[in-house]
Each structure stands twice: as C-alpha cells, then as structure tokens.
Symmetry: D2
Subunit: 336 residues, 4 copies
C-alpha cells in the first residue's frame, strides 16, 4: 500500500486489453513503480489505460527506446509475444509476458535464447504458481509433508468456450488452455516427462470441431522416475470455473480445491448447498495476478530470479506440442 519515494521501476505496458489492464493495475500498485507508457494498436484503449495511471501513449520503438524504461509488460495477442520479447531483451528491459511464449517451439526457443543472451529478468505469466492455495500446497509438498510425489490428477475446466474466431487462432486447446496445466505438472511433480498420451473430443459445440479443435481432453504424462499425471479438461463446465488438482505422495495426499465467492451454506427440504466456484479466471486468480506482479517487481528491484521463466514457458509448450501430436496422430509421443 505504501509507496516509497525513490521510484525504481519505470514500466511500459504493451496491450491495453483485459489482461493488460489487470497487469498494469497490479504493477502500478507495487511500491516504487511508475507506469510511463501504454502501447496498443487500438488508440482509445491505450489512451484510457494511460490516463488511468498518469502514463503516456507511445509505440513499440518509442517505449523500448527510452533508456529510463527498465521493465515491460507484454499483454498483446499471442502472435506478437515473440517479437516483443526479443526486442525488449535486446533493449535490456526486464520482461513480463503473458502465456504462451509463442505457438511454435522454434520461436519460443528463440525467445528463451534471447533473454538468456541478454541476461535480463524475464517472466512468463503462469499466474497459477502464485495463487495462495496452489503455492501453499507446493510449499507443503516441498517440506515433505506427503513424502515423495507419485501421482498428480489435474481437473481444469472453463465455464464456457471462447468464440470460435478465438479458437481458430488459439493454437488449439493444448497450447491455449492446457499450457497452464502442463506448467502445473512440471512444477508439482518436479520431474521430466518421458511420454505423453492425449485424446479428446468435441462434445459441446460442433463449430469447434469444424475449426479443427476439441473441447474435452484427457492427457496422461509419465515421467523419468515413473511418476504419473492425468489431466482432464473441458471448455464447458455448467457449474463454473473448475480448477483443482491433487497429488498423491508416498505418505499422504494434498488437494487444491476450488475457491467460492461466499461461505454461505443453505439447507432446503432436499439439499444442503453452497456456492459454485468463482466464475472464471479473473475472479479465481485475482490474488494470483496481484502476487505475480509483486514477484516481478521484487525480482527487478532485488535482482533475484523469477519463479516462472521463459524456459518454463518453452517447456510447457513442448508438452502442449506433444499432446497435440498425440491427439492428432492417435499415438503415444515419447520425449527425450
């Protein structure tokens, strides 16, 4: 809440849409942060977000060319991520980029290389790792509370499918939606995948199938040490946004459950009931979005490593790519 007087971060925000606004607001709330530029191809959006934070509207070169700028937030459309990451890295800026890094492994690798070469702080927006429930679970896992992790079951369901126009350019459900779940897998089981099996169906809307995609998936990953992971996803869960996972360990189990808007319990003649989960990601991960931006600011100010790197983004994409191939080719994909 308290702002320090010596501002140390001057940021430029690329993308003034829904997620850009969330990130901009969260970053602006950190002590020592000044939003200086907003960049968006849609001028009115850029202007509105800039005004809200006392920033100026600029363009890519203007923002990256200002030596005072030491941090950028990339919340633009996916196809622009790679170029912006590479340019920002070359300009020596700290980078926060929304997931996914890119839809192709090649360009995602180029991004990872670019930030490595530049030696800049670069973070991918896998916000779930910053969620209070998920991160508390991870901490308890690391403390050995359930021994060695052996099996992970991830349930990840959206309340409804996005427009088909979005789906067409999304890279498919595995890269668009499960990318988060693949990151959870890597984070929780802490081991390398050696095989991926994925299957799926289109059960909610034939238009998704016509667009070459599916809305329901079942993925199985096996790791080097024999740990197992099952992920089930759906684009449409009638009861809301369902975000759970559970880890079976040698000594017990840890579950991360849904978050509900209120703790009201009602009893009628026929049922005892409580709220359905938070409706979607903006509500469900509100705290996580705030925490990841605090983490980004901290990393810049203190020069500490970030917890979700471009490398992590790349590795999740490798799994999403393998799952896509497994589904399309109806075979088990072996990774090395």
């Amino acid at each position: 809440m308290t702002k320090q007087t010596n501002t140390t971060i001057h940021a430029a925000v690329f993308g003034a849409g829904r997620i850009g606004k969330i990130h901009a607001g969260n970053l602006a709330r950190q002590p020592g942060v000044q939003l200086k530029y907003v960049v968006d191809v849609h001028a009115p959006s850029a202007a509105a977000l800039a005004q809200e934070h006392g920033a100026k509207v600029s363009d890519i070169d203007g923002a990256l060319g200002d030596p005072e700028i030491n941090a950028v937030i990339i919340g633009t459309s996916t196809d622009t991520h790679a170029e912006l990451i590479i340019k920002a890295a070359a300009a020596g800026k700290a980078i926060f980029c929304e997931k996914p890094v890119d839809l192709t492994l090649e360009r995602a690798r180029a991004c990872a290389d670019a930030v490595k070469r530049a030696g800049v702080t670069a973070m991918i927006g896998f916000q779930r790792r910053y969620d209070p429930t998920f991160s508390a679970l991870h901490a308890r896992l690391e403390r050995g509370e359930i021994g060695t992790p052996e099996m992970l079951v991830v349930t990840s369901r959206d309340p409804g499918a996005p427009p088909v126009s979005y789906i067409k350019s999304s890279g498919g459900i595995f890269k668009d939606m499960l990318i988060h779940d693949f990151d959870i897998f890597r984070w929780i089981l802490d081991d390398e995948a050696i095989s991926v099996h994925a299957t799926g169906s289109c059960l909610s809307d034939p238009a998704i199938e016509e667009a070459g995609d599916i809305d329901s998936t079942a993925v199985t990953i096996r790791t080097r040490r024999g740990r197992l992971c099952q992920i089930n996803t759906a684009r449409r869960a009638a009861y809301g946004y369902d975000q759970r996972f559970e880890v079976l360990g040698s000594l017990g189990m840890l579950q991360a459950g849904n978050v509900r808007p209120t703790e009201v319990v009602a009893y009628s003649k026929t049922a005892q009931s409580c709220d359905v989960p938070e409706p979607f990601f903006l509500e469900r991960y509100r705290a996580a979005y705030a925490a990841e931006m605090a983490h980004f600011a901290d990393a810049i100010i203190h020069g500490t490593p970030v917890r979700t790197t471009v490398e992590d983004g790349l590795k999740a994409l490798v799994l999403a790519d393998a799952a896509t191939r497994s589904w399309r080719e109806n075979r088990i994909i072996t990774l090395d």
Copy 2:
C-alpha cells in the same frame, strides 16, 4: 454375528411398538440372547413381534414371574415406565428402559432407589451416547485433545412435530425432547449444573401452544466450574433431523456433525449440493440403537456397569424440570 450356543440371556420385551421392535431386534441379534416373551396391551402387536423372534406372548406378571427371565426391555408408554422398573427390579431382572424414566422427579427417584436397592443392572436408553460420532468425540475429549471443555453448543431439531395428542401427554418439550440434550450436556461437560435459563416459543403450529407447549427453545446452563452450555431446539426443521453439538476447549474445538444418507455431491449452474441429514432418529441413530443393546447384553453377561444409568435418567430429568419451570415462570432456576 456369531451366535454362541450357551444362551445366557432370556429376555422379555414390554412394548411391541416402533421402538420396542427396534430394541427387540437389536437385542435378539446379540450372541447368547433368547427373546422369550413379548408383552403388549395391543395383542396383535405382541403376537407379531413374538412370532418374528420365536417368542411367546405373555403379561407382566407372567414374564416377571418366570425365573429364567433375567432381562427386560421396557419400551412401553412413558407413564408405565416407573411401575415396570420397580417391579422388574424387585424381581431381580436386568432392566433396559427407554427414556424418560418418568415425567415426575418423585417417581424417577423412586426408580433410581429401587434399582439401587435391588442391585440389578439397569440402563436408560440414552442411545446418543452410543452413536459412533458422538462417542468418538467423547473419547477424544477424554484423551485431552482440546484441553479442558469450556463451552458446549447443542443444536437439536426434529424434522416435524409429533401429533398434538402425543404432545399433550409428553410432559412438554423439555422432558420429551430435550431430555436427550440434557444428558449430552452432563456427559460432555462433565460438571454439575448450577443454574438453568430456558425460554421458548410456539412458531410452527398454534395447536401446540393451545396444548400448553412450545416448539422452539433456547436453554442456557451454567456449571459449578463456570462452564457454559447453550441448547437450541425446534420441533420442525424443514431440512430434516438436525443433530449436532460442538465443544470449545482450552486447546481447540470438537464438533459432531450430521450424518447424510449418501456422499453424492452435485454441481449445477447455481449450487454445489449434498444430501440433507438423515430424516429422523430411527435412521440417524440406527448404529447407536444397535450399540446400546450390545452394551446392555455385555453388561449383563460380564456383570460390568452400564454407561447410562437410571441415575443419569433422573439427573437429566432434574434439568428438564428446571428448564420447564424457568420457561413457565420466566426466571433463572438455581440448582444445588
């Protein structure tokens, strides 16, 4: 399940109504038990129950006069309990009697004296003490898991009021319904009551008020050591039979929750829901009724003391009587 060959208990059952049948069935299932007589003023009921268990129909003197009979179950109407207890005690039989001992303190005391004098095993049907949930809680309390008990909150609600004809001869809600809750208070807080405050209302059916009774009560008991107990009851809970209590102790809390028929959880567009509690006492306390009869048979066979004595029945009645006076006279009743 296994029946031993040398039968050691020959029992007579008084009362072939709903609760008499439950007790008879549960006692008959114990190893070494033979139901020999069924006694009921309603001949067809007696005959049916007798036939079910290979017993004979008899009358009070016939059953108590048979020297082979060493145990009786009293499940008749409340106004006959005292006489049967006193006669059975005089005849040297082990006694299981449904609650309450009697509606008057005087006669209940006479019963307690009679069984004491006779030295017979005599047990009152406070079945809740034998419920798996309640008795597990009590055991954990006794092991000191939450330190010293300080406060008890009892929620005890029926799914609907009995017929007004029943209410008229019930002795009033405190002696009829809360008698169980007063016993829970004594068992859990393990201290002597020094004051009782009770109030109540008739909110569901004016006929109950016309019968001189109420359907909703709020009782507070204070103990010698300053422990507090609040009991809230209602004759009508739209969602079923609500039987909960919680104990606050110096180191934590223990709650006894409701039991549900199934563990199905349903998610709809608007709610996450599970079953309402078991509908009423026969379902909710099925295991408790079986366990109390096993306890009774054990006590007879091994000559061990029973956990719910006629003295306990008398002491719960003292509290019910104090609560009744507190409500009627609108004052705090001091006990000594």
Copy 3:
C-alpha cells in the same frame, strides 16, 4: 480502480492507529476521494499516515473548520467518539465512526440526536454487514429463501484476549466484543428484543476476572414475535477467529461459515484436514472493510442513506447494556 477527475470527497481522518489506517486506505481507494487531513494525538503516526496519502497533519478544529472537508472518519479511542461525532455533525460533515458509538447509553443517544438534528450522513462501522458471506446470506433471507426467520445462533470467538489494560477501559465484553453480535441479531432477525438473558465466566485468564470482566458468554434474546437468538462468545479460541452464524427459518436454514486462507486439503495417515479460519478481524473482514468504505463514499456522493446508522449503534448498545446488567445482576432483563 479508476479515479474520476472531479474529486467530490475531501476527508479528514481522526485516529492514525491500526483501524484508522485501514479505513483511510480504503477510503482513499474510492474514486473521487481526497484525504486532506490526518489528526492524531501521536504526532509520528499522524505524519506517517498523512505522508502515505499525500495529506496534511492537522488538529480537530483545523480539520473540522475547513469548509472544503465534507467527510470525517473517526477511528480514535472509544471515549472520544461522542465528542467528535457531535462536533462533526455540528460542522455539517458526513461521518464514519468506528463502533461503539460510546460506552454510555446517554452519550450514544446524544450522538444519534446530534446527527439527526444536523441531517448529516452518519455511519457506524458495523463492517460485518458488508462482508460478502454475511451480506449474501442476508440477501437470500430477504428474498424469502428460508421463509420466516425463527432462530439465530451466533458463534463469535476471538483467537485471544486483548491486554488487560485494554479490557479495563473496554466497557466490558458485551459492549466491546458482542456489540457486533447484537447488531447481527438486529439485522438478521429483524425484530425488536423484548428480553435479554446473559451469563458468562472467566475461563482463560484470572487477570480478566480481576479487571471485573469475563471472557466467555452465553446470551439469549427473545423478540416481540417470539423469535429466539443465542449468542456464544469466547475471547480465546485456540484455532483462530471463529465467526459463524446460522438462521433457522420456517422453510430451511442458512449458515454463514468461516473463511479460510487457502483451499488446501491434506490427507495423512490419521486425518483429512484443511486450514483453520483466517486468524483475526483484519484478515477475515478485509473485503468487508473495503466494502463499507465504498458504501460510505457512495452514500455521500449520491446522498443515499447508509445501512448502518448511529441509531443502529445506539440500539446495539442498548442490548449490550442489558446483557451487562443481566450478567452482573443474574436476572432476565425485560426491554420495552
């Protein structure tokens, strides 16, 4: 998040302690609000809070004498509330005052009269009415989901007692702690109390008893229409801050449960467990504190009535006063 350009509220904050800082921060976050003055007898606290919000340090007369100031937040010690309310009302300022209005009925009444006479917006900080869980429950109750409310059971326990020095000047547990619960009673049962019975004990720390107070209470309230309320409180719940209530209605029940920091569930060899409740009021009612200040700002800007008036503060105090007398004099207090 968005701040409008035409600032319409210029506020002075009285009291720069823990709760004053919370309120100041929450008010400053509302659109159209400018904190202009901070007033506190402890100069460094005033200076720090003023600096945080770009405000100036002032004194009572300076702040109230500035015609630009149109709103004041009173977060000072209880004994100064009445004087500040009366002065601020006379100066025509909108008032937000922490509970309780005052420890005496006489001065609380004078405050209610003063704000009425002045016609100013005046709000008491019963933040629980603004809590997401509690207010959702209230809305469902008002929509008739459980029919007519008949019984309310309030469980309200602090994680630990405040210092005895605080207790000595607190006005006693009923005015200091249960004042919130009495307001919940009035809000939920929506009826006038006609009798109050309270008892209590000192079970955690003899120093509290020496200070003339208790740490555990059991209160029963009866309303004009025969509705019943039981409140149980404790200064010390080993497992944290326990804030629950449940309303039995003619058609069902609504419960407001505790809020937990995370939704992690752990399974070990011996137990399935989840988090204990949020540790104390700052965490538990974080959203409520923000929402009540948004409500205050809204009421000023739109000239709409507040939901928690000084009159509500007075009426809760009448109940706290009755409970105090009931406990001290060991009798039922009749209200008219």
Copy 4:
C-alpha cells in the same frame, strides 16, 4: 429383518474365507433363505461357517447334486470360479460369483455362454453398483440431472498392497483391482469403449515389480460417442481406502465421495480435520455387500433380471485385458 415362514431359497456356499463369510451372512439375513451347505477345501473353515448358520459341510458334487439347492454363492479362489459357474449353471442353480469371472477371456466367455444356455439367474459381485452413494449417483444421472455424461474421472486407491504371493496369482493389477473401475466406467458412461490407453509404475515396493506387476496406474478410455474416462489407481494410499468418482455432464457434475467412519470435526491451532475414509473394502462397502445379496435373493424369488451379469463380468475383463496389453506393449489398444 422379518423372516417369512415359507423358505424359498436353499443355498450352498462355496468358499468359507473372508468374502465367503460376508456373503453367507448377508444371504442368510434375507427373508426366505436357508443356508444348507458350506463347501471349502479347508475343512475347519467350512465347519465353522456351517455351524454359524445351521448348515452342513458338503462337497461340490454333494451340494450341486441336491435338487433342493436352488442357489449357490461362489466365493472361492479366482481359478475355480469358471468351473463352478459352469457346473452350477448345468445343474440349474442360481449363481452369485465373486469378481472376476476368470482371468482369461476365453473361460470368462465360456461362463457367460453357460449361464445363457442354462437360463439361470447369474450375478457377478460388482458390489459397488449396490453402494448407497454410487447407486444414488447413478439414479440421478439416469434422471438427467446433469444432462448427457461426457467425462468420468475415477480415483481408486487401496490402503496398501496385498502380499506379493497374492499379486503373483492375481492376474495383474488391471484384472485384480481395476476390474471394478472398468465396471464403473461401463455403468456410468453407458457407452462402448473404442480405445484404451494404460500406463503405470511400481512406486511402493520393488517386490511387486519383480513379480511382474505395477502398483500405480493411469488409464484412459474413449467411447464410441467420444466420451472420455480417466482412471487413476494406486495400491497404497497412506490415508486409507480412497474410492471416488465424478461425472461431468453437459448440465453439471455429480461426484461420489468417500465415506468416513464418524462425522467428528476437530479444530486445533493448525488445522481443521475430520476422519480419513473407511479403512478398506469390508468397511467401505458393508452396505453394498448387504444390498447386493438382497438383490440376488430378490432376483431369484421374483425371477427378475440381475443388475450385474456374467456378461458384465466378461466385458469388464475385456477392458482389463486391453489395459494390460496397452501397458505391457506401450501402445493404444483399439477395441471393436
């Protein structure tokens, strides 16, 4: 509870071990049932069980040759099931046989053919379908409460592995343990499997791996209509016997949760906790075992079809066989 006088079922029990005793006891409790023979290669076990139920010890031919016998319970070791089914069918007896029918598809098919040819009532002990929670879920699913089922997630974990000697002759984890889960899949998704993918690991005890088996599996099944099923199992869950499944449908979700021994909830300084699930199948499925035997008796007496046929046993085995091959050969198995 009530026994009718005209006994209509005269039963022979094959196998007097743990599960045979359960079935014998449950069948004997049905009205109109008389256990006439007990057959077991271990004479003392046969004698003990026979005595308990007033039955006689006999041998296979003796029991099957008695024309009064109209029902048999097969609770012997798996390798004897097929022969007993075929003989009993030929003798025209109603058959209840523990799962699995056999470990080979060939013999299981021969059994299905034999009972079909003989036209006898023949039931496989998939007791889970008779569990109160599972069957309530199934009934709600059939009533269309969640629309069309789309995805099933089954969690099925034992508290600990059986002895390696048992594992060696068990047919492997898929036929021994997951056979139940494959039946749940068929029952709940109500569609034909078209592909099976299974993988697994040995994570708890190297001796299991040496015996050629695994202790942890992850199975995915796809159906003709595109429905998806994921099954995760483990031989060792430190917290007990974990038996859950959930069905996502087009309109919502239904979950079947674990059953706990008691409803005690405990609050300590660090956690709110409840009981772990029932320890193992005898406790968890106690009601299911009783209900399936009542169903068997009903089917015989009324000539109605059984809900879990030998054909069901065969079809579950087809899936278990496919899963075994998928795991061993590391490929997706297509079914037709």
